[in-house]
Symmetry: C2
Subunit: 620 residues, 2 copies
């Protein structure tokens, strides 16, 4: 074993680096040595059996600055076995998707023993992340050199290293060749052929908004099942989650996994949610409504000023309150977001998924009210359709422009400046074979971290609201949304490729709670649109003598539309037929295998039985 370990130490450039680990500047040598040994140790000795080397053993000049960066990789066979361990699903030669196993590797499409491009780079990185996270404490009581960083058997080492600040970050490297290709198809040309997302179709159907939104959401589900089946994440078994980083409690035995880990009573958590978080959210909602009323006062004041003077100049002033309000809304949304994150993490949820759900719920309710309250007020209390149209336009366009700037362009600009600075520095170094890798690691180290899909979903959710809630009053909103999405798709692609560190791939079977949020929004939009149509002068003119009849008819139509919506949602199967069949086949095969095993057992047991039975009968 020692031979192979030292061999790994010396042949440092023999592996493709996949993941970078950045340690803190002042980490002790003892800790570094221990971590390295744990990472490269054999599986059976509790290690991860991965390949590991410092980035910088050739650039001794610079040791002071970047000596804390380490590269992690793995041999090809190690990755294949890891793929089996994480339950990676790949396409077989018969076009079905199956969980990869090393024993049956030759049944899989594109597999070749001499060729190592069977797993994509993202999959390799996901496997390495999984192996690093599953590196668990054995009999260590603490991290060597850090007595305050306590360990207990089964605790994930990486989690503890991250929470103790010993490891600063772990990130995968970008694939520069692939990025070049994506650049062409994603964001330098204005084409959508190869983009997997097509939420821009609605400009064509904007008039059929109500039924259309149901159908598109159902079609999305089917498309989602289709895609996740192809990606192999639909049939992937869920892993049992560790407590999320930041979760604290008294050490005890988890009753599900039987592992020793911190426990926190759900009773205390409920108290925190209902006695602190809920009142806080209500207070914020009240504050947001208060700001809205101030906006309406400003609006009235601007109108009065304009009517007093009547000049060209003051007509521009009419737009000022809504622009200010739009900016204030954006600021409040962002502030509230921080508060919600703080509160939710204070609620001390054990699982990352529970944390996410509570956070999403908090943020959604507030953002919904914050963005749409003024529009509802204008539409159903003031009943001023002209003002509604104007506010809608201002809110939509301002928030879109702000988002684009804050989200992509500004970070990209900062990123470029940094990029140039690093380039210069590297050119000053003498040329070396590894210069490009060195440059890449140092550059990507400084990139921002992509914090998950939350913000992108939220943006689209609010946009969906602007477009669908009042679509019959202001169909132009759809056009603006399409325009925004044209540039958004490109700036998001730019963001993912050039601004942020590569994120680890996150297998997932659907868009989760967001599907529910979009569906709820589409139900609300049926109600608002019916109400708006009922309030329009043209429809009112049809019932000159009786307003009650008009309302009854509008309500009847609304109920019928809602019924149609639910029947449609029920009647359209969530998974396309061919995928249902393939999943059923997989399930059938695993049941058959189990049955075969049991049959064998039954046959074996029955063989021994007659002797036993007859023996019993003799005795009785």
């Amino acid at each position: 074993m020692k031979v192979s370990l030292s061999a790994l130490d010396t042949c440092e450039s023999s592996f493709t680096p996949l993941v970078v680990i950045e340690l803190a500047q002042d980490v002790k040598d003892e800790t570094k040595e221990w971590l390295k040994n744990r990472i490269i140790a054999k599986k059976k000795d509790g290690g991860a059996q991965l390949l590991f080397r410092p980035l910088l053993n050739k650039y001794e000049k610079e040791t002071l600055e970047n000596q804390n960066l380490y590269l992690v990789g793995a041999s090809n066979i190690r990755l294949l076995l890891g793929a089996e361990a994480v339950g990676l699903v790949k396409e077989c030669n018969d076009n079905t998707m199956r969980a990869f196993t090393y024993g049956t590797r030759h049944n899989f499409k594109g597999f070749d023993d001499n060729n190592d491009d069977f797993l994509t780079m993202a999959e390799c990185q996901f496997i390495i992340k999984h192996e690093l996270e599953n590196l668990r404490a054995r009999d260590e009581k603490m991290i060597p050199g850090y007595p305050q960083a306590k360990l207990y058997p089964g605790k994930s080492l990486l989690r503890r290293l991250l929470t103790s600040g010993i490891v600063i970050q772990v990130f995968p490297l970008h694939d520069n060749e692939a990025l070049k290709k994506l650049e062409d198809t994603w964001y330098t040309r204005f084409t959508f052929k190869f983009q997997p997302v097509d939420y821009d179709k609605y400009v064509i159907f904007a008039s059929f908004n109500l039924i259309w939104s149901t159908v598109i959401l159902e079609v999305w589900k089917r498309g989602c099942a289709n895609m996740t089946y192809r990606w192999g994440t639909l049939a992937m078994k869920r892993q049992f989650e560790e407590p999320r980083p930041g979760f604290h409690g008294v050490l005890g035995i988890n009753s599900v996994t039987g592992r020793e880990e911190p426990l926190y009573s759900s009773y205390k958590r409920q108290l925190r949610i209902y006695l602190v978080s809920l009142p806080f959210v209500c207070l914020c909602l009240y504050f947001s409504l208060y700001v809205m009323m101030i906006y309406f006062d400003m609006e009235a004041w601007a109108l009065a000023l304009h009517e007093d003077s009547g000049s060209e100049w003051t007509s521009v002033l009419l737009y000022v309150p809504s622009i200010i309000y739009a900016v204030v809304i954006e600021i409040m949304n962002r502030l509230y977001r921080y508060a919600a994150e703080f509160l939710t993490s204070w609620e001390n949820h054990r699982l990352e998924s529970a944390y996410q759900n509570h956070l999403i719920l908090k943020v959604l309710v507030f953002n919904f009210l914050n963005c749409f309250a003024s529009l509802f007020y204008i539409a159903f209390v003031l009943m001023d359709m002209k003002l509604l149209r104007q506010s809608l336009a201002t809110l939509l366009i301002t928030s879109q422009i702000l988002n684009q700037i804050v989200e992509s362009l500004l970070p990209y600009w900062l990123q470029r400046k940094h990029h140039l600075r690093v380039k210069k520095k590297v050119q000053a170094l003498k040329a070396d074979i590894d210069a490009t890798l060195y440059e890449q690691v140092v550059l990507e180290k400084e990139m921002g971290t992509y914090l998950g899909t939350f913000d992108d979903y939220l943006e689209l959710f609010l946009q969906f609201g602007y477009v669908s809630l009042f679509s019959c009053v202001y169909p132009l909103a759809a056009a603006f949304a399409v325009l925004n999405n044209f540039t958004e798709v490109n700036s998001d692609a730019l963001k993912m490729c050039r601004v942020f560190k590569r994120p680890f791939s996150e297998p997932s079977a659907s868009i989760g709670v967001w599907q529910l949020a979009f569906e709820t929004m589409s139900v609300i939009s049926v109600v608002t649109n019916c109400a708006l149509i009922g309030m329009s002068p043209q429809v009112n003119a049809l019932f000159p003598e009786s307003k009650a009849d008009l309302i009854l008819i509008v309500v009847a139509v609304e109920h019928a539309l809602l019924a149609v919506k639910f029947i449609l949602a029920f009647a359209i199967p969530d998974k396309p037929r061919h995928i249902q069949m393939k999943l059923a086949r997989l399930e059938f095969e695993s049941l058959e295998a189990l049955k075969q095993q049991q049959m064998k057992l039954v046959a074996e047991n029955l063989k021994d039985e007659p002797r036993e039975e007859s023996g019993k009968e003799k005795a009785s």
Copy 2:
């Protein structure tokens, strides 16, 4: 092997008979011998390895009448291994529910090698049914002696025997001791303590009907999860269903199971559904509305007659049209039911579950319209609350009385008469040790077959409609429903115990599509109740000047109530927390076991690897 077979032949009274097979009178000896051999043959020879004997080898006098009855049983160890094969879930010593395996039998509560009451009688019968149904054709091309009864490899023998009319019926025997006990607790005393069903709670909450119905449906789901967990059917793996009996098509390969079986294109089925069944259902709905209009004509005629004469006698006449209408509705429901069964079986569904779903949908839509159309017409077109109350009462009470008579009392009376006749006959025979068993089998053979829970659910569904749709107009309906359910619970128990053959137990994790039907009904009832309240004179008096305001407020309240309903349904978890925990633990354990197995494999594979790798490096 031959020794044990002949041993089984002779020790015929050494087993407890569990299931009875009735063959047709004229079955050839060759077929009987073949069937017997297949049932008692060893598992590894493709048999079921069960015990089997004719009922009548001791009563030669009567051979002409009952020589076609056979008893099936199984040895204790065979039943335990069968329990493992069907995936039976039992309680362990640590109070969790786990799939029973023979190897771990000593971990289960109440298990004792010398005691055979670990499995309940119903479980034993279920296992025997499963084994009989899984007796499959091997190389036989037909059933011996019946060239027209074709077989193909893998075809279930029992299904073919039943469809060819060779086996008349297969039924489990009642457990007379248990029935005696049930008699005391279920239907001779008017007590509800030990009844698992408690849908009568609503008399207390009738006023909170709207929210209550949501809560009770959610509580039902939780209760359901609780019970099915205890019964071990919640975690039971679903079996892949065979084509249902009566399904026909061209022999081909099933793409899911890979078995050879009849196939029928789903395209043809869709054509049959949309071009024949759908128009037929619409026609029936139209006919039902037509009958309703005739009823209203009769009602008007009776009212005119009463007003003309004004005597006591004609005031009774007022109730005649509704009573006639109620009877006609019951008759139409029953006729339509036959038509729906015929059509659905003509649609040629492959699976029993698909057949059931299509049948339930057809029957529900028709019954809903047939029973409630006249009430809707009275409430929202005629707006005659007095007539509504009267019709509701007549419909409800008539349908309840009719149901009780047709469902239980009449069959019970017929049953009793037959019972006495058989008793006399048996007493005429000379006394023998097996006389009670003989009597039991002959009696139960003639009992009716319980056709599933459909009718019982439908009855409760319609009752739920009568009670909840118009609860604010006629709260007394709830009282009648409670009264009915008091007697219903008893007559149903009587029916199950004394009128019908014992049904095989049918494991199921929930009440399935009925949950959806009840939920839909409770949504509709929110709408109708809000509308009825809005129409009441007291509420109308609050808004003397503006009807439009009143309608707007009613609609707003209705939307708020519906929103509360959906939020409640979303917020109340479908499974109680402790069951979620236990299920998570089971899943975790099976994942861990899988992981351990894979880890071992990884470790083994990696042991061989370094040599391979170093070899490669030398070569390169």
